[in-house]
């Protein structure tokens, strides 16, 4: 049963991902990205990371994807921008990615990972993650929150300046 659910989520992740890479229509690519993000959220939940799964749905699907689709619609008046490089460049990129993919898969399957002998049953993680964020990882947490603030203010500033025409 678990294997079936796992395989469904893997297919849900990989097939739309292929479409993102190969589709010539940028709107189709954006909506395939939605399904990919959802599949990855499912994989997180299967790995016992319930909090990360929910965050994935909220931030990626609710935030980043909406921004990307907004950007797609803002930047194509009239014609669809299905720009992609010419065939020789595509072949070269495909070859490069194929080589790296083969190397990664060989490394993943041949290495002797120090896998835990018995998997503990997953427990709810939200409370423990909250403890870690406000304890051991407090400094990193604060730095990331300042980074987010600076990035958002900076984004507003960049767009505002161009609207004023400076």
């Amino acid at each position: 049963m678990k294997e079936i659910v796992l395989n469904v989520f893997i297919l849900l992740t990989v097939i739309p991902c292929l479409w993102v890479a190969l589709s010539s229509n940028i709107v189709h690519a954006a909506f395939s990205l939605l399904v990919t993000f959802f599949g990855v959220a499912g994989l997180y939940v299967l790995l016992g990371a319930d909090f990360i799964g929910v965050i994935q749905v909220i931030v990626y699907i609710g935030g980043i994807l909406v921004l990307i689709i907004f950007g797609v619609m803002m930047t194509q008046r009239g014609k669809l921008l299905s720009l992609s490089v010419q065939l020789p460049g595509k072949l070269f990129a495909g070859l490069l990615c194929g080589i790296i993919l083969t190397a990664l898969i060989m490394a993943a399957s041949r290495s002797l990972w120090p896998v835990a002998v018995s998997l503990v049953n997953p427990e709810p993680t939200s409370a423990a993650i909250g403890d870690l964020l406000l304890g051991k990882y407090l400094a990193a947490f604060e730095v990331v929150s300042v980074l987010l603030l600076v990035a958002l203010v900076g984004a507003v500033l960049i767009v505002r300046r161009s609207v004023r025409g400076e």
Partner: protein, 107 residues
């Protein structure tokens, strides 16, 4: 595929390589951004898979990998906000988002 570390590693390698292919082949600036999101997702999946399957050491807690993924998601959000602002400004000034047209800085 079976429920093992290797299946998750293979899925995240696929996400990473397809993301890289997208970044290399798209000329649409927003398409490039989508590829970067795929790459970051692959990295995050790797971290969570390792934190689930590997033997935890004495000092690190069981959830360290998930914390890393949390930070990756936060930084991806910041990155996409700034990148889209830049793309919108470029579009309003140059009327295109073809990355090969942005050669003002070329020496």
């Amino acid at each position: 595929m079976s429920y093992s570390l290797q299946s998750f590693l293979i899925v995240s390698s696929l996400l990473f390589c397809l993301g890289m292919f997208t970044v290399l082949t798209r000329r649409n600036a927003i398409g490039v951004l989508m590829g970067i999101e795929l790459i970051l997702n692959g990295a995050g999946l790797n971290f969570v898979a390792f934190s689930r399957f590997l033997q935890p050491s004495q000092t690190a807690s069981l959830l360290s990998g998930q914390i890393f993924t949390l930070f990756i998601i936060a930084i991806a959000a910041a990155e996409v906000a700034v990148a889209l602002a830049i793309v919108l400004v470029l579009y309003s000034q140059m009327k295109t988002i073809d990355v090969e047209d942005f050669k003002e800085l070329r020496g």
